[in-house]
Symmetry: C2
Subunit: 273 residues, 2 copies
């Protein structure tokens, strides 16, 4: 049975990312890992089938297959017979396979590394991805932004004033700590997928809250966070990817730009018209 399972999820086939077309969204965290890892992969965002394939997977009648439970939402990764969802979970799977975590075994093996990297990833996604989405959809993702504008303004004000400094300050502390090792990275003195995640959330928040992020950068409080951001951005494979057509523009996804939400820490919010 072991042999069969090994064969079923054989790792000599390309990775398939199943995600909506038209936005970087949560798929982007997966793409950055695949790109930096030099993986052979397909991406439904660019095949013309992104909408259909995603809808089939998340259909309210899908009960999965013999081995895989159904996914609730994209991003979804298919690899051979394995089909999994949830951004940090997909990264957990890809990390060791793409060399984006320290090896668990061997002379210098660090079997606990994956749990530290996963924690950093979950924290970055919680605070600077999920909470940013909630800034424009604090009441219900089923409603339009226009139907929750007042609440969005209140939420965004709290985000810029309290949450953004909390999370940027947290990652600055992580980068100051010894466990981050030498160099610009979050853990162990080498690039891991947590760094790619931090890059992407910072990039997204820069798009959504340019004023607050500009103030954060010039404050000098988060020098190491912005150093990491630059270090990821200039890695050869990432640089090539970001300049390519595979990198989609921000639009109506997690990271959205609404001028009325583009607050600074000291702004007094204006009443919504």
């Amino acid at each position: 049975m072991s042999a069969t399972k090994q064969q079923k999820s054989a790792k000599d086939v390309p990775y398939e990312l199943i995600y909506w077309p038209g936005i970087p969204g949560r798929g982007e965290f997966i793409r950055l890992a695949l790109e930096e890892g030099g993986a052979d992969y397909t991406d439904t965002a660019h095949t013309g089938k992104g909408m259909d394939e995603t809808l089939v997977q998340i259909d309210g009648k899908n009960i999965g297959d013999d081995n895989n439970p159904p996914p609730l939402a994209p991003p979804i990764l298919r690899h051979g017979d394995l089909l999994i969802s949830q951004t940090p979970n997909i990264l957990l799977y890809l990390g060791p396979r793409l060399g984006l975590v320290p090896p668990a075994e061997g002379e210098d093996g660090d079997p606990d590394a994956i749990y530290r990297i996963n924690a950093l990833t979950l924290t970055a996604l919680d605070g600077l991805s999920n909470e940013v989405h909630d800034c424009h959809h604090p009441i219900a993702s089923s409603l339009y932004y226009e139907d929750q504008k007042e609440e969005s303004l209140r939420k965004s004000r709290d985000f810029v004033k309290n949450r953004l400094p909390k999370f940027l300050g947290y990652f600055e502390r992580v980068l100051t700590g010894k466990a981050s090792g030498d160099g610009p990275w979050l853990y162990g003195g080498r690039l891991t997928y947590a760094d790619l995640v931090l890059f992407q959330v910072v990039d997204g928040v820069k798009f959504a809250f340019p004023k607050a992020m500009s103030a954060a950068q010039t404050s000098g409080k988060y020098v190491l966070v912005f150093r990491l951001y630059d270090a990821v951005k200039t890695r050869p494979k990432i640089k090539e990817y970001l300049a390519s057509k595979r990198r989609q523009s921000y639009s109506q996804g997690i990271y959205r730009y609404y001028p009325e939400l583009d607050l600074t820490e000291t702004d007094t919010p204006q009443p919504v018209q």
Copy 2:
């Protein structure tokens, strides 16, 4: 170095859960795993040091130690020299050690199981824990509920009408699918920590939204979800735990009961006084 690391995170010491006293909170997911796994563990909620130890860990000046980045928030698990945070991450670590996932290796080894179980866990925590917290704190966790009552009512109405059926329906589909195997469990015909998580979120939502959950149960749409709930609740170790003083009452944590938010799917919300 490998030997040193093995020694450092030696697994022959008790687990230490660091969490606030006074609420089950996110610590409860960890406790259920430790209890069902028959682990030797300590819990700061019961040592009188829960507040102090948690505050030290999440202090804005903590930069972690030589090997561990600082945690942003509890629950935190210490095991030898390893210190990790984030609920699903701690469960990921404990799962294989406590026999709460299928073995990855050996004759019937299922190395992909952990990724499926982790996805189910993340989905349950997203939808039926984090979103439930946001029902009473949709604008800011730094504000009192009383300062965001109107928004809470709007959010709760959406939760009861759209989100709760979505997530309960999702887990009913998972339990219907072949990958769940025989018996009451979510994956592979055996209890995993994802089942403990689903039990706890259902239990919490029953406390916070009793009318909606009673309606969900009598609707007959989620028979398998409630069967799993009962199956976990009556397992000998869990039963003993739930009857013990170690199980704390719900109060001002994730799961709160506010009569004005205790809506049913067909309720028209009343204006907030």
